[in-house]
Amino acid sequence: MSSQAAATDVRVLLLESDAEHAARVSILLEQAAAPAFGSAEVVSVPEARAALAELDGGRYDVVLLGLSSAVARSGAGFDVIQQLDRMAPVVVLSALDDEDVAVRAVQRGAQDYLVKDRLTPDLLARSMRYARERHRLLAEQTRRLEHELKIAAFVQQSFLPSRMPVAPGHDIGAHLHASGQVGGDFYDFIELGGDRVALALGDASGKGIPGAILMAETQGVLRAEAAGCATPLELVRTLNRALLHDRSQDRFVTLFYGVLEVPTGEFTFVNAGHPRAVLQDGGTESALKSTGPPLRLFTDAAWEERTVRLRAGARLVVYSDGVTEAQDADERFFDLEGVRAVMAEHPDCPAAELARHICHAAERFERGNPDPGDDKTVVVIRAREP
């Protein structure tokens, strides 16, 4: 077992409240160390807080966590495994020989679960070697994954329009708050020519990478096709056909897509399964409700197109469901009332600022809630007074 001895010295942190057990393990470690590692330096601490402080202060190759039968059975000692595992690989030495308990320990991050009565120097040495190697590989994988996620988030940010469209007489702004590193929300503005500007706000279902990829695909097709489509309805149908090429029916995209005729303020939209947008004009408010199902669910769906007019002074607010479905600690929803409240509070503020205010208010609202929130996106168009 220990024929090819590695020459590296190891530093072992032994967390064991029972002094007698600690002494026994130390002796085993000495026996194990000579052939397997060269020499082992063992620091023994009786409780978790001291162990964490010790790990914080110095580098350890492995933590041996001693558990009594009672602690192992109750599972109370398992919380500390996660904390320790962030700093060094953990091998559990337990008085309890129970397969279920062992599996739970490993699920919480332990590299191995050894029964105290059956410890031998060889077994301990091998377990420690494997634990170090696995922990190192895992840490490397996690680092690589995080690095790639950062790149993905950066790429995704670059999909968002870098400037607002030119639309004389109109003030257009947007804000997106991503809940994770990558998300499913997006917005876009496309100058279609002939004094027409397209606005899109979409939400691809599914968080993380699957949502992000679907979002990227949607936005890519949308940009390529928007100018070639005479109406929003045509664009939505074209986009739906493009997204339906693979028929896994568990992910979809809700999309609010509208085209503004800049000189007249006429705004024609299709709302594909997206939350209602709000149009406030003087004292009146209208809801630009869903006019058909989300994209990527049905080959043929009867989307409808509607036209409204953005008169001078009117404000159109389009948002993703992450805004209205933000929940506070008491599980109340931010809802449309929350959006209206922010609009009332800022009657004259520029479009981009209003969009940001709404996102931030929803985000503040859900701060006490331990569940992670969803992406929040708001697009605002203000028709200026002449």
Partner: protein, 119 residues
């Protein structure tokens, strides 16, 4: 709040009493439960959503996919007791046309018993 799923069985019919928020991983947990039912041939399923305050878009996607999976397996999925918010989501996404929804358990059971075809 964590998702809880109670299970009742009436002959070949299964009623899942779902409680909590169908969001994030909870949607996957429910989908997995339905997959488990399909695996043992229990393909006539009623989802009682009375205690479900909220369904997010990912969970809605899972429901759609399990709706198809049950149908492909010769069964059916019916939704029971939708809260206002969940109903609103169905209307917004027009999926009220895809899912059959019921306000009474007896009606949902009757519909499943009569309409599920031979098996």
């Amino acid at each position: 709040m964590a998702l809880r799923i109670g299970q009742r069985e009436l002959d070949r019919l299964t009623i899942l009493d779902v409680r909590g928020k169908l969001a994030g991983e909870a949607g996957e947990a429910l989908a997995q439960r339905i997959e488990d039912l399909i695996a043992v041939g229990r393909t006539r399923v009623i989802l009682n959503l009375r205690e479900v305050s909220f369904i997010d878009s990912a969970a809605l996607g899972e429901l759609l996919s399990k709706h198809s999976a049950l149908r492909d397996a010769g069964g059916q999925l019916k939704l029971l007791h939708l809260t206002d918010r969940v109903w609103d989501l169905m209307v917004t996404t027009k999926l009220e046309l895809v899912f059959e929804t019921f306000r009474s358990e007896a009606e949902a059971i009757r519909s499943l018993r009569s309409g599920a075809g031979p098996d």
